[in-house]
Amino acid sequence: MSTSAPASPPVPSDERVPSTEKTLRRLFLTLFLRGRSSRGLKKQTAPKSVGRKLGLTLGLYALVGLSALAFLKQSIFALTVYLHAMTFVFLGMFVASSAGEVLFNNQEADILLHRPISPRALLWAKVRVLVEVSLWLACAFNLAGFFTGAAGSHGNWRFPFVHIVSTALEALFCTGCVVMIYQLCLRWFGRERLEGLMTTAQVVISIAAVLSGQLLPQLIFRANRVVSFGEKTWWIALLPPAWFAGFDDALSGSAARSSWLLAALALIATTMVLWIAFGKLARDYETGLQKLSESVPTRAHKKGRRRWIEVLVDLPPLRWWLRDSVARASFLLTTAYLARDRDVKLRVYPAVAPFAVLPIIFMARGFGPGSSGTREFGIAFVSAFLGLIPMLALSTLQYSQQWQASDIFHAAPIPGPAALCHGARRAMLCFLALPGAVIMALIVWLSDRHSPQVLMLLPGLIAVPVYALVPNLGGQGLPLSLPAEEAKSAGRGLTMMVAMFSSMALSGLALLAWSTGWFQWFLLIETIVAVSLYMIMRRSLANVRWATLE
């Protein structure tokens, strides 16, 4: 038999061949818009789902962006600090949550790594899609800002053009930073710790983005919407959004020397980050993908050693609370995913963060002098929002990339989803609601140890078990049972909105009862209503039987 090397496989040369870059860019954009898994779906129904949700998201961003109209009479610098700070938050969250999945997808290695694609082409195609979608989001949020900057009292016609450029720079900077962080993690810490680090980095970036998104507007409004960069406010130069705001101000605003300085910082920082992420470290990208595809044996636990959670569930009071073996198994499954699964962690913790932070900010505002009514409402509001935390966490826990594995629930000899839902709910109450309640009670108690106002926490705490059952109504909310792509559902948002209004109404009623001296009676009635609702909801859940799997 011949062993001579054959030529490259023949390819007809008279037709136009799409370039690898173009093919990859189209591939990743399609995957982004459709999501990465879609069992049992047809082209007509499935592919548009994420795209349609993206349309809704863009609309929502444009609505939120209307807040920029409050800056009509402010300077270009104040307006753009606000716009860029908020854009930075949105982009940071988006890129952090998408980048891990887009850049380092485990399954992708088997599909693409043996094909003739250079690592640089692969990386650029992915980054291009990330930047493109980031820019759509940024433009939607900045729509009202474009108008405010052009038509405001300090505005001019140049503003929209300059702001588009600065926003594009910001998107490149954000994406470059996230890519650079991942690649540095890979280079410094190796494959074994890469996934853990990526998860932690994503969770921290997302939570930081949410927190700063809540805190930044507070800071700006506390400063009477006056922001300027000078000797006393030198620290502004440390904040990346201010660099890009400086770019806008230099080219379409005051053109002050300090703004030119910030603009130069924006250009230098963006260039540096892009050079490091896509020039210096691009070669490491293929190594990263290769390492993710290697099936390295994980270090085994010491023989006979049990996980801490397994020990905990064998001890009272959890042993008493988890007598049912199915609920116990579901409890352990939920805690394992809350602690280990990157996808679940990235969805649950950043989603819960605003609900944990918002009431604390609200309560803190009530601690000032002459704000006793606000403070009492704040405390009641804090505890009422506590119920929303397990509720939101449970509604997000039902989405997973391994949702197909939940078929095992249907195959097991259990009549319906009730026991599984109970286990997941108890895990959320145990590891999210309980620590939250303890922290909030401590904050209230430490702020004024002699105040009876700590009792205002009770109405919310009584309602927590009821709120936590809401996601499981009708047998819904089975943990890890729906595709991750379905996570952004408008229906879920509506349920959350109703729950938020009901918790605010509860806080208002509690405040009314407190101020009229009927608080004990209010607590008694609320307890009776909560217990009745809880019993009805539990019974209804217990009667639910498995629906047919389609």
């Binding site: 038999m1 011949s2 062993t3 001579s4 090397a5 054959p6 490259s8 496989p9 023949p10 390819v11 007809p12 037709e15 136009r16 061949v17 799409p18 690898t20 093919t23 990859l24 189209r26 591939l27 399609t30 995957l31 459709r34 999501g35 990465r36 898994s37 879609s38 069992r39 049992g40 779906l41 047809k42 082209k43 007509q44 499935a46 592919p47 399954q107 992708e108 290695a109 088997d110 599909i111 693409l112 790594l113 043996h114 094909r115 003739p116 694609i117 250079s118 190594t287 290769q290 595809s293 290697e294 099936s295 390295v296 044996p297």
Partner: protein
């Protein structure tokens, strides 16, 4: 056509593939066998450029795996064990995308895809309307095999290619690889279904714990070891001799 010289892969302290060397000429079908964790998939992943060898060299069609990686990749087709695909593309979108990565124009790609559809008896509607996530395991495997052969590679690596295929498709597939070999393609076939390997392959390489323990023609090896079948020879060599006793112990657990 395929040449390995002391190819080694280590993960930390663990050696997955330990200095294996062999050569495969054009037109040969080689059964690449070994128990779970023997290093088969790691070897195939190294030969397709998916993971980097720790040491040693390999060349495919005269191109060195390290120096001319892109040239190697252009000449290699690979069906991975996972059968992974982008589930949110339709079958046709996926195959057109793969064709584009090898520089095959759309019209030519459609022509070739049409031939594969006919061979595998796939409905064109299925290929254009359904997303890959909705395909059965067997249908998905057919798409993955098509994607591996679309660019007409001179060397093809199959890792458990029959997984999920129905009996007819499996028979058709065996005929296909024999035809491909007759046309001069080199086929490396990794599988646990040993009777198929015995019937289809010209040569068998068995590896265990990262090292080659046997290399030769199936009938000659079976005769030399007086084992009757390749399956028996395989279990003899790879420590599966006590399987019946272990099965008995396992069943005892339930009796207790």
């Amino acid at each position: 056509m395929v040449s390995l010289d002391h190819l080694t892969k280590r993960f930390g302290n663990q050696t997955a593939v330990d200095a294996i060397s062999f050569e495969i000429p054009a037109g040969q079908i080689v059964g690449f066998l070994g128990p779970n964790g023997a290093g088969k998939s790691t070897t195939l992943k190294m030969l397709t450029g998916m993971i980097e060898p720790t040491s040693g060299t390999a060349s495919i069609c005269g191109f060195d795996l390290k120096r001319d990686l892109m040239e190697v990749k252009r000449r290699v087709g690979f069906v991975p064990e996972s059968g992974a695909v982008f589930e949110s593309l339709t079958g046709l979108e996926y195959l057109i995308m793969v064709a584009a990565l090898y520089g095959i124009p759309q019209n030519a790609a459609r022509q070739r895809i049409g031939q594969f559809i006919a061979f595998f008896d796939l409905g064109f509607d299925t290929l254009t309307e359904k997303l890959l996530g909705a395909y059965s395991k067997g249908m998905r495997r057919k798409v993955v095999i098509t994607a591996a052969l679309l660019h007409n590679p001179p060397v093809v690596f199959f890792d458990e290619p029959l997984d999920g295929l129905d009996a007819n498709a499996a028979v058709g597939f065996k005929a296909l690889i024999q035809t491909l070999a007759r046309e001069g393609k080199t086929i490396v076939y990794s599988s646990h279904i040993l009777d198929v390997v015995e019937r289809v392959c010209h040569r068998v390489i068995i590896i265990d714990k990262g090292s080659v323990i046997l290399d030769g023609k199936p009938d000659e090896l079976v005769a030399a070891h007086n084992s009757g079948t390749l399956e028996k020879l395989f279990t003899q060599l790879t420590g599966g001799a006590e399987l019946e006793r272990r099965a008995e112990d396992f069943a005892k657990t339930f009796r207790a």
